[in-house]
């Protein structure tokens, strides 16, 4: 298990470890959108036998790894505007078609970063809310509500040691009740926001107990660490 020292001094998963954990829960044969930043790392842990097809919202299915050398083509970039490559069986389409694909619920999973996620699955990841910051949303709001399942990857605590999994988001929302799973350095959380009252279940911990996670988040977390792995 890769480890890193978190803000509390705990040794949880490092970024690669979080990416690997998220990758493990992506079902075989899925169509997946990986948000810019941390989520992009998930692609390193997807294997050919997983038959996962990557979508980039700027108009492509079948995106390959980052391009290098002669493979760099300024007309072939990902959502983060980084040159990428094309896999056999790729396809291109325009922006309205690309977001129709997303909004229409055709992507199986999207993986996003977050400032905050609420117990009810609300996501905040586009705007700090600070007046001096220039807001930019890109495809975040479309992605958040579009995929069949939205995964979030983040550190559990911010630099001040405050939990980013919260009762109610204080940052401006990206989407309401849209997050299904949260991958952090200290634990993995599964959110059931479709229930009468939302529940948050801890399915794995990394150098933290469920009780400690309850204290850190102030949430009545359910302990699912002894359960069998969810079906892929």
């Amino acid at each position: 298990m890769t480890e890193a020292v978190s803000a509390t001094g705990r040794r949880g998963l490092d970024r690669a470890g979080i990416a690997r954990a998220a990758a493990r829960d992506i079902p075989h044969g899925s169509y997946v959108n990986l948000g810019i930043g941390l989520p992009t790392m998930v692609s390193a842990y997807l294997h050919p036998q997983d038959e996962v097809t990557l979508h980039t919202e700027n108009g492509m299915l079948g995106m390959g790894p980052e391009a290098t050398g002669d493979d760099i083509d300024p007309d072939l970039i990902n959502a983060g505007k980084v040159p990428v490559t094309e896999r056999p069986g790729a396809s291109y389409f325009h922006h309205a078609d690309s977001f129709a694909m997303m909004r229409g619920g055709h992507l199986d999973v999207c993986v996003l970063g977050a400032y905050q996620v609420s117990a009810a699955g609300d996501l905040a990841n586009w705007h700090t809310g600070r007046a001096q910051d220039i807001p930019a949303v890109g495809g975040a709001m479309d992605l958040a509500i579009g995929a069949k399942q939205t995964f979030v990857m983040m550190t559990l605590l911010d630099r001040q040691g405050n939990a980013k999994l919260v009762g109610t988001c204080t940052y401006p929302l990206t989407g309401v009740g849209c997050v299904r799973r949260v991958y952090t350095d200290l634990a993995i959380f599964v959110l059931a926001s479709d229930a009468q009252s939302p529940t948050v279940t801890v399915t794995a911990t990394f150098d933290a107990t469920v009780e400690e996670l309850r204290e850190l988040t102030g949430l009545p977390l359910l302990d699912g660490t002894g359960d069998a792995a969810p079906p892929r």
């Binding site: 075989h28 094309e86 069986g89 291109y92 909004r103 229409g104």
Partner: protein, 238 residues
């Protein structure tokens, strides 16, 4: 999960379509009509189907046979009445089949909206006509519009031209018609195609329906009368 299933018999391609299912069937007249899949559906025996198609069958082919065999409870279409739509005409006059008549562009846009996750849309088409009777309207920028809702299906049966093994599809000429939008609007999309080629053999710029929209495929060869292979030998500029 989403990997396309390639089967060798149309009968297998239409497995699991239950009685009462809503089934979109591609095609405008016979162009793009998935005749092999419809024949297989007929053989499977599902009843009480709600069929979405531009027409209501012609002569003794495909959809007309499904209607003749009393498998269709309701047709949602734009143009049921043709000189050779005798099976539909007979069932309709006998009160044995329901008809929801939709202007062709609203039909296409409702199907597109279903695939695109649009909750509803305002269209000027049909305003002030019988086909908008009872529907919500709104004046926008001085123009009257009717509110129309998405049209979804449990299954879409479509005909395409060449597929690759990831389910990416191309079409031939005007046989493209409803295929691409129906593929996106159904829970399960089944495509009959002329042939299936390895991934990488279709130019990614020229894929019309990305494989994400296709669940099952069966290769059935060229449509009777339609030529297979390259249509435009001069089309080398791209």
């Amino acid at each position: 999960m989403s990997v396309v299933e390639i089967v060798t018999a149309p009968f297998d391609a239409v497995a699991g379509i239950p009685d009462g299912a809503t089934v979109m069937i591609g095609g405008f007249g016979e162009a793009g009509q998935p005749v092999a899949l419809i024949e297989a559906l007929l053989e499977r025996g599902a009843r009480d189907l709600v069929v979405v198609n531009n027409n209501a069958g012609s002569a003794e082919v495909g959809l007309a046979r499904l209607i003749a065999a009393d498998r269709v409870r309701k047709v949602i279409c734009s143009f049921p009445r043709q000189t050779d739509s005798w099976h539909f005409d007979e069932k309709y006059r006998a009160g044995k089949i329901e008809l929801e008549l939709v202007p062709q562009g609203n039909l296409a846009e409702r199907i597109r909206a279903a695939g695109a996750g649009i909750g509803a849309f305002y269209t000027p088409t049909g305003y002030g006509t019988l086909l908008a009777a009872g529907k919500e309207t709104r004046e926008i920028d001085g123009r009257h519009h009717v509110l129309e809702y998405p049209l979804r299906a449990d299954f879409a049966l479509i005909r395409a031209h060449v597929a690759d093994e990831h389910g990416n599809l191309t079409y031939r000429r005007t046989a493209r018609n409803f295929g691409p939008i129906m593929a996106a609007a159904a829970t399960t999309t089944v495509a009959e195609v002329t042939r299936i080629v390895p991934a990488g053999d279709l130019d990614p710029e020229n894929v019309v329906t990305p494989g994400i929209y296709v669940d099952r495929m069966v290769a059935v060869g060229a449509t009777s009368g339609a030529r297979d292979g390259a249509l435009h030998t001069t089309g080398a500029a791209t």
